[in-house]
């Protein structure tokens, strides 16, 4: 499974990057490929290309604020959660993502 996503929080200095690390660790544990862009005080890092997004099975947006380039995810299955959820339950979020993809494939 290939996941893309964006992390962004209100101040843009702490939760964004903790969420990123938690999700990367959880994806690694589940054996999924993940690429997360961060939008914080220091700007955008690890930016997703259109190809990254087109190749992905699902997008996880762990965001507390409006993000730049939201329209990039218009054509992809996506889950949007607050950064708190990504920090508190990253493994559950991975399970949920797998379920969502499975349901879509069966539909």
């Amino acid at each position: 499974m290939k996941i893309v996503g964006v992390c962004a929080c209100t101040v843009g200095i702490a939760h964004t990057y903790i969420a990123q690390e938690k999700l990367e660790k959880a994806a690694e544990k589940a054996g999924y490929d993940i690429h997360l862009e961060t939008q914080g005080t220091i700007g955008t890092q690890n930016e997703l290309t259109p190809e990254d997004i087109a190749d992905a099975d699902i997008a996880i947006l762990a965001i507390d604020v409006k993000i730049k380039g939201m329209e990039r995810f218009d054509k992809i299955t996506k889950m949007t959660v607050p950064t708190d959820i990504a920090i508190k339950s990253p493994n559950k979020l991975m399970e949920k993502a797998a379920q969502v993809i499975k349901q879509r494939q069966n539909a």
């Binding site: 209100t10 101040v11 200095i13 702490a14 939760h15 964004t16 990057y17 903790i18 969420a19 990123q20 690390e21 938690k22 990367e24 660790k25 961060t38 914080g40 005080t41 220091i42 507390d64 708190d84 920090i87 508190k88």
Partner: protein
């Protein structure tokens, strides 16, 4: 210098603080940051930290909280850490009391502060690693607190 050495001023690390409340530990850490020359107005910064507290929970679970504020009272981005002898009440994702407080001080303007802010974000990323948090909780000296991140 590593990210950790750069981000962590030993003077802004308090091991086994006896602070009895959220307010006490915030004031203690802000005072340390003021002594280290990172915060110009302690009361002003405290107010901005509480503004962020009012916007959402800063306890990230596992007994750790990450209060932070963007403030004109911060002269240079910095981080301060306290380990507490007695856990204190704090709004957190898992409703556990807090025994480790990591305070991020962020400048109001990013101008001229990009390098420091990048360093803080790299430092924050380490807090997403449970192994780091476990080492931090076991730390009994300033040296061990710094080592927890390396």
């Amino acid at each position: 210098m590593t990210v950790v050495e750069e981000a962590l001023d030993p003077n802004a690390i308090v091991v086994n603080s006896s602070a009895k409340s959220k307010d006490e530990v915030l004031k203690e850490l802000i005072h340390q940051l003021a002594l280290a020359g990172k915060v110009s107005d302690e009361a002003g910064f405290l107010k901005d930290v509480y503004v962020r507290e009012s916007e959402g929970v800063t306890g990230i679970g596992n007994g750790v909280s990450i209060p932070h504020g963007r403030s004109v009272s911060v002269s240079e981005p910095a981080v301060a850490i306290a380990t507490l002898t007695t856990p204190v009440e704090w709004e957190s994702l898992d409703d556990e009391k807090i025994s480790i407080v990591i305070l991020f001080a962020v400048t109001d303007s990013t101008e001229g502060a990009q390098d420091h802010l990048k360093m803080l974000s790299e430092f924050a990323k380490k807090l997403g690693d449970d192994d780091v948090l476990d080492s931090l909780k076991a730390a009994q000296s300033v040296h061990e607190v710094i080592a927890a991140f390396e």
